[in-house]
Structure formats: C-alpha cells, structure tokens
C-alpha cells in the first residue's frame, strides 16, 4: 500500500518545549501551542484548515477518556471533521500518515495533525500496570520487556558492550543543538553514561528515554497549496505494518513487520540504496540499542553491522554520513504519543532546511520512523526537498 492519489507536502511544523512537567499549560494549552506554531509556520489561520487528525498514546496516561472530545475547541475543530488515531508507540507516525491520506485521497486540501502526551497529569507506570485476569503482567515497564531482546541482539552480533552508551551519549550531544529537547545535559560525559545505574541489564539509566510533556503538529496540504509555499517537504512514501506479539518463530530482534514496512517504503520512494540516498534519519530509539538494531532492520546496512555504523561515528551529526536523531531523539524527549510525530516532523524540518543548529547541510531526503507495542507496530515516511519523481 503506497501513498497513491494526489501529491501531499508538509508546509507547517510546530512543537512545544518538551519537559517533565509543563505545569504552565493545561492539555488544551499544550496542544494549541504546537498547533498555533504549525499554522504560523504555514502562514495559515485556523479557518484555513479543513480537518484535524489527533493522535496520542493510551488515554490512561492523562486519565481522560478519548480526550480529543474535550479538545475540540482548543484545536479549532468545531464544525469540522476530526479523527483520533491510537496505534501504540507508533501512533505519532500513524497519525501523520492518516492526515496525509486525507490529502492523498483528494478528500481534503489542508489538514492539521497534532500528537501529544501530558504524562505529568497522571502516572504512566500506573497506566501500564493495570492487572488483567488471565494475562501475564510484565510489571517491569517497557525496559523490562525489551532488555532480553537487546541481549539477544548483542549475543547474535557479538557487539561490544558499550555501543548502547555511545548511542545515548551521541543523542544527548545532539539534544544540545535542539532548544525544544527535554534533556539538556551539557556537562554529561561518556563515562557518566557508562557508570549510570543498571536498570534492566544491559540497559543503563542513561540509555533510556525520559517521561515528557509535549506536543507536535504539522500542516499537510495538496500539491496546489504546497506549490504556493516557499519550502514544502514533499511526502515521497508512507507505510504502516503490524504483526502479532507472539507467534512461533517470530524474530523479535528484527521483526518481519519492520522489514516489510521498510521494503514497501523504499519501493514507493524509488530508493534502492537507503544508506546512499537518505541524508538524515529520525528513528524511534527509546532504548539506546535500538539504533543499531533498526539500522539493520531498515536496510541501512547488512544484518550484524548496525553496531559498526554506530562505532564508526556514521550516525553522528558531526562528520557522519548518515546522521541519526539530530534532534536528540526519543532518548532526549519522550512525550509518548507525540514521539512518533516528532520524528516525522523533524524529517520534514531537515528537508525544508529549517532544523536550526541541528540542520544537516544540504539534506534533500529524510526518513521518519516510529514503532510501538512489543516492536510490532511500525509507521514510516520519506520526505524530500523535491517533488516525487521530479
């Protein structure tokens, strides 16, 4: 399933400052902050928007059932169509793809999409730990779930033990270039990352993502509208895949859904060598080791070679030929429901040349990536400075 239909492009991007507690704004205030910035960037007014697509992770994170219902006014939806997407951790990416589909289909011309989380309003650990009859409770959070999978990767590839720390240190350095990032740790040293407490072997405290409040928004428009904009990010490809959490022979390190989603994506975008043709990647890496794991799964290198890319510095914004998570990534800001959309929006900013201090010079094609569930839900897109097939 490809993008099909009409061309679509991102002409407005807005994000909030991410932090542990955005106590200065309510939920409506938070989403509106990001949405208003996206509209300003697009040079549009609320009335210019035809439809709104909102995404966020579980409603239990704020304790409000279907919060889009009460955010109708805050997002200027009154009298308009509004959709609410929820596809686990990949939701921010999926939400952007649903918004894009409204334009690709020719149903709407100008769509606002917003994804957010305000974790400080509730308790995410409580939200994730509600006991269910006849089900095994993980009880150890997402890190407990993913650590055995990471160990399996390390065992299979014989990757050096400190690769994960290298990723974490790199992303925290990148975060210093992004004023919106939650974690700004200018004095952090590599040794401090290595010496941080071990939470879920082999994941150290400094190799995990923070809990953040925040929102991201984009304005996606059709070709006619995008032609009027000075620097649209054209959507070259978009793909989603899901697979079951448990089945015999499932490859949890490199899930089939991830590989098939990437293959579909590259085919749509006409990309045969992602490493050569993609200039910058915003990848969903909530635990450091997922960077080398996804580099392999997405086809940026051969299986078993992902850690070598990290070790060589290829994914660092300074001197790397495939910079990954120049914004600081999920490891530096994690408003869960928005984290996928931030990846997609950062990819758009890069090809628009608007990423500020974390801009990759001359970026023409960028990838946005998100995953969720037990690494079973995937959403990806490729955006470019040029029109597709131009």
């Amino acid at each position: 399933m490809g993008t099909g239909g009409e061309l679509a492009a991102v002409v407005g991007v807005g994000m909030t400052k991410f932090s542990a507690t955005r106590g200065d704004v309510s939920m409506p205030g938070l989403v509106r902050e990001a949405a208003q910035r996206a509209l300003d960037d697009a040079g549009m007014q609320w009335d210019d928007i035809d439809a709104v697509v909102m995404g966020k992770a579980p409603d239990f994170f704020e304790g409000v059932m279907m919060p889009e219902i009460f955010l109708s006014e805050a997002l200027g939806c009154v009298g308009k169509p509004m959709l609410r997407v929820h596809t686990a951790g990949s939701v921010g990416g999926s939400t952007a793809l649903v918004a894009a589909s409204l334009v690709h289909s020719g149903v709407h011309k100008r769509v606002l999409t917003v994804a957010w989380e305000k974790q400080s309003e509730s308790n995410a650990m409580w939200a994730l730990s509600l006991k269910q009859p006849f089900q095994v409770s993980i009880n150890a959070g997402a890190g407990g779930y993913f650590s055995p999978i990471i160990r399996q990767y390390m065992e299979a590839t014989q990757a050096p033990e400190l690769i994960g720390c290298m990723v974490a240190f790199k992303d925290r350095q990148h975060a210093l270039l992004n004023p919106y990032a939650h974690l700004h740790q200018p004095d952090l040293t590599f040794d401090q990352v290595v010496e941080s407490p071990m939470l879920w072997e082999p994941i150290r405290y400094s190799e995990t993502c923070p809990s953040s409040d925040g929102a991201a928004a984009m304005v996606i428009v059709n070709e006619e509208e995008a032609d009027k904009a000075k620097n649209p990010a054209w959507i070259h490809a978009g793909a989603m895949r899901s697979e079951a959490n448990n089945f015999p022979g499932r490859d949890e390190v490199n899930p089939l859904a991830s590989r098939e989603c990437a293959e579909d994506l590259w085919n749509q975008a006409g990309i045969t060598n992602p490493r050569e043709e993609i200039d910058v990647v915003e990848m969903y890496v909530p635990f450091s080791w997922y960077e080398p794991m996804w580099l392999e799964s997405l086809g940026f290198c051969e299986r078993g070679d992902g850690w070598k890319l990290v070790e060589s510095g290829a994914t660092h914004i300074e001197g790397g030929d495939l910079p990954v998570n120049c914004s600081g990534g999920v490891l530096s800001s994690n408003p869960i429901g928005a984290s996928g959309m931030i990846r997609f929006a950062e990819a758009a900013l890069q090809v628009r040349g608007m990423a500020g201090d974390h801009q990759v010079e001359g970026a023409r094609k960028a990838m946005g990536h998100a995953y969720g569930g037990g690494a079973q839900y995937f959403a990806m897109w490729v955006v470019g400075k040029d029109k597709p097939n131009a």
Partner: protein, 339 residues
C-alpha cells in the same frame, strides 16, 4: 470519488458476555472472511475502533489484533473511536487508490464496569469531570432544556419510546418513575457488550464478493464544541452538516439507522437531518435497547447494509455518534444501486 461498498457484515450483542474481546471477535472476523472467501493476506487494509477505558487496560487493541491473525504482517490502523470512524478511515484509503478490500471491526465490553460513571471521564477534566456527572444526568440536563423551550413534548418522548420498543404503550411509559428527571428508564439506553466485523470492497471487486453490494454514496463526519456552556443543547449542527455533506437529501431515505441512545437524541437527530418523526420503516435495531459503546455506530452501518441486502431499503442512512450529547456525528448513505 471511487465507488466502495459494504459486502459482508457480522455482529453480536449481549447484555453481558464472559468471552474476552479476542474470543468475541474471532468468530465475527472469521464469518465475514468466510462469506467473502477472502484470506487475511487478500485484504488490503485493516482498521479497528475501541476504547482502553472499556477494556480497563492500556494498549488493549494490541491484544485484540490477535483475533485478526496478523501473520504475515498487515497494513493496519486503529482509532480510539467508534468503528464507524475506522470505516471512514478505510474509505479514505480506497480513495487513495491503493487498496481494493478492507476489513473493519470494532467492539466494546462495558459490562465489567459502570459505563455511566466511566463516561464522566470523557468530560472536560478541569471544569466538568470533577463534578462526576454521569451520562444519564447529562442527558437529563439536555432533555430539561428541550422540554422547557418547547422544542419537544413528553408525549413525543413517550411515542418515541414505544416506537423504539422500550415500552409497549404510552400508559406504560407514563407509569414509569423518573430515572434522571425528566427522563424515565424507557428514555435511556441499556448497555450491551458486543462487536461488529465488516468487509468493504471497491467497484470491480465488490460485485465478485457480494450479490448486492451496499454502495457508499456519501459519507461525512463533523464535531461540535464540547463545553456545555458554549453549546446550544437544543441543536446538533454537526449532525445537520454531516447529513448535508453525505447527500442525505439527494433522494428518499427508506430506513434510517440512528445511533440514538436516548429518546431525546432520536427526536433531535430526526429534526436536524430532516427525517420524519414517525418513519414508514422502523430501524432494524435500536441502540436505546442495546448500546455498545465503540461499536454501535459501526453496527448502524451494518444494519443499513443488511436492509439493502434484504431488499428492505434501496437507500439507507446510517448514523454514528460520539462524545456527550451527540457532540460528534458521522452520517453515511448506502444504496443498492451503484449510480
């Protein structure tokens, strides 16, 4: 617009089910696949609707995906909305020209909790929810406004209850005590557990899969303001607009499957959509007698399609709603003819 039709539907509702969501959905999804002869790998897109607040578990839809059997992986999405909006998202994918078939499903199991109270958590968490007004209380507020302004009468409520079958007669209606003054039990919904599964197909494919496809001739959805102090509780502009955009008034409507959980909602919706208060043909089923949050809207679409398959209707309206007091509305028109 590309022509898309409902080609198969299966549903189940009971007041209280012991089955899990997966156990509920497997037979329904299997039934629509068997009826069309489609395998999961033949289906271009899968989309579902449900609520974590009903399941009492974060990411609850991830478990239910097992009912689909997503091995090998599938192109799939989920809305935290009634399945009618999953239906809409799928219709959009058809318009992109990238799929020829889609599986849509939704489900809700309110029986383990008190849905009346759970629905309070859907209200503005700063200004309204802390007061814990339950769903019937909020509906009573609206009913009182409608009666006081003379927009509806209690006799109309009684007649609507008789038509929906929550009472046998006006006498029985008036013999009931108030439940949420001025609403009686016969005005208010009985909640049910349930689920719906459906297959959609594009022109060219639909005729192969179904003898008489129920073609979507129009679909639209809109949302109103949330805050009770801002809204005019006696009007539903979003339903009126969605009906117009879906082309409801382009021809006669043989059956209207309304997602009206209260008698007041039935009367209001008919007024806003220009439908007769006493229709020639009754709905095939009434949400007021069995309302399954997250699935009732998609079930309306299934019932409208069944009306077309059975020859009861040539042109059928299906309506779905979400949020307090009909805040968000979707209207879909199905036709037995592709033109």
């Amino acid at each position: 617009m590309r022509k898309v039709a409902v080609v198969a539907a299966a549903s189940r509702q009971e007041e209280k089910m012991l089955d899990t969501e997966v156990e509920l959905m497997i037979p329904l999804i299997s039934e629509v696949k068997a009826r069309t002869g489609l395998d999961q790998t033949d289906i271009g897109f899968t989309c579902s609707g449900s609520s974590d607040f009903l399941a009492g578990q974060a990411f609850s839809f991830v478990m239910t995906l097992d009912a689909v059997g997503p091995v090998p992986p599938i192109a799939e999405s989920h809305v935290e909305m009634d399945g009618a909006w999953a239906f809409y998202e799928s219709w959009v994918k058809f318009q992109m020209g990238v799929i020829d078939t889609a599986l849509v499903y939704s489900y809700g199991k309110p029986s383990p909790g008190s849905l009346q109270d759970v629905l309070s958590t859907q209200l503005d968490p700063y200004y309204i929810a802390p007061l814990w007004p339950d769903a019937h209380a909020v509906a009573g507020l609206q009913a009182r406004t409608l009666l006081e302004q003379g927009i509806i009468t209690v006799d109309q409520l009684a007649d609507c209850a008789v038509r929906a079958g929550t009472v046998e007669s006006r006498e029985e209606y008036f013999s009931q005590p108030m439940l949420s003054d001025p609403l009686r039990k016969a005005d208010c919904p009985t909640y049910a557990d349930g689920g719906v599964a459906m297959i959609l197909a594009a022109e060219g494919k639909a005729e192969e899969l179904c003898e008489k496809p129920a073609w979507i001739t129009g679909i639209d959805h809109r949302i109103d303001a949330h805050h009770f102090g801002v809204r005019d509780l006696t009007a539903v502009p979003s339903a009126r607009l969605a009906a117009e955009k879906a082309g409801v008034h382009d021809g006669p409507i043989d059956i209207a499957e309304l997602h009206a959980a209260y008698t007041t909602h039935d009367l209001l919706l008919r007024k806003e959509m220009g439908l007769p208060e006493t229709p020639n043909d009754n709905q095939r089923s009434y949400p007021i007698k069995a309302d399954t949050l997250m699935a009732s809207g998609l079930l309306r679409i299934a019932e409208a399609a069944r009306g077309i398959w059975d020859g009861q209707a040539n042109r059928a309206l299906a309506h779905a709603t979400a949020g307090p007091l009909l805040q968000q509305n979707l209207v879909c028109v199905l036709s037995g003819e592709s033109n």
